[in-house]
Each structure stands twice: as structure tokens, then as C-alpha cells.
């Protein structure tokens, strides 16, 4: 039985920040755990962002001024909501364009026929 294998980690490597920025262009604010769940849900479990990867990335994006944060108390627990700054919106658009272009290029390479190469 074939159940939702994850992609090899080296393949997903490098796309994390773009995925985060992409999600935040559609959702005004999201918190870390929510992002991991959303991606898992949207990809049928094929991409599962680990917390060890996500939190340092979020911190880096915030440090770079691309994300702003707002802390909320949910009961006795703390949630840290992230939103795109103005600069973040620009960067998001840029990274999304680059990734989209990259996907096209890789698709082209995969679909090559001998006659073309």
C-alpha cells in the first residue's frame, strides 16, 4: 500500500521561506504551528515542515524585516502571529516569481525529448 511518501528532504530544501511567504500573502496572519499544519494539509502530507526548520526560518525572516509579529494569549498559552511587512510583501512577490520560474525550468528539463537535446 502506497501512502503519501514525503519528498526527500534535499528536494524541499531551499523552498521553505518561499512557502511561508506565499502562505502569508493569502492569510493576513499565521502562527508557526498553523503553518506546519496548513502545508501538511495542502500537500497531502508530502511536505511536512519540522519545527526545527520552521522556527529558525521565521526568526530569520523577522530579523530581516520581512515579517512582523504579534503575540496573543490563548488561555495560558502563547501564540506568535506572523504577518508580512511592506518589505515582506515585495520580497514575497519576488521569491514567488523566482520559484515559479524555477518550476517551469525544471519542468522543461524533465519533459525534454531526445530530438530537443
Amino acid at each position: 500500500m502506497y501512502l503519501c511518501p514525503m519528498y526527500s528532504s534535499e528536494l524541499v530544501k531551499g523552498t521553505l521561506k518561499t512557502i511561508v511567504l506565499r502562505l502569508l500573502t493569502e492569510h493576513k496572519e499565521m502562527y508557526g504551528y498553523e503553518i506546519t499544519q496548513r502545508v501538511k494539509e495542502l500537500t497531502g502530507g508530502k511536505i511536512q515542515i519540522t519545527e526545527g526548520a520552521l522556527y529558525p526560518s521565521l526568526h530569520a525572516l523577522e530579523k530581516d524585516g520581512l515579517l512582523t509579529t504579534e503575540t496573543m494569549n490563548i488561555g495560558k498559552r502563547v501564540r506568535k502571529y506572523y504577518s508580512l511587512s511592506k518589505e515582506g510583501k515585495n520580497k514575497a512577490a519576488e521569491k514567488i516569481t523566482e520559484l515559479s520560474d524555477f518550476l517551469n525550468t525544471m519542468r522543461f528539463l524533465l519533459d525534454l525529448k531526445p530530438a530537443q537535446g
Copy 2:
């Protein structure tokens, strides 16, 4: 003026071996330098494989039994031609399928509309 910027290296990271295996499914044998030139040509310079990345990868693929080599003398120079082994053909098909699936998933994430997320 906007001339063929390369993709950020972290984006391309992880796709090198699959690209090599892919090219070798269309060309019975290729040598290292040829691979770098072919990829550069096919991608309009957007992916430029460095020799520091390629040669160790080729050696690893050979060590794993996926590639076989044949050394040829061109004048006084040596060329090392790489071909897919039987195992390499299977692995190539596997990696290509995975990458293709991954491209679809990433495309889906990029094309999300608010109503869907």
C-alpha cells in the same frame, strides 16, 4: 536590462543528481563538462552547475552503482564518459517521478487562491 539571472543556489540545491540522471536517460553517455554546458544551454544560463558540485556528485553516483564510466583519450586529454547502469535507470525513473510530483505540488501551492486555503 534584465539578463538571465541565476536561481538562488538554495533553490537549485537538491536537484543536481536528478538533473544528471535525467540527462543520461536521453543521452547514452555524457562527460562531466558536457553536462555543465548542456544544462547551462538548456536553461538559458539560469542553472549553472559548478564543477565543484558536479564531480563529487558524479563520483557518488558511480560509487552507489548508478553510473558506469568509460575513459576516452581525446588527443592527449582524458574524458570520462558516464552512463546509467541498470540500477541507475531504475533510480533515474524513480527520482524523475519524485521531482515531477514535487513540481506539481509546489505549483499547486503557488497557485492557491484564498478561497481554497
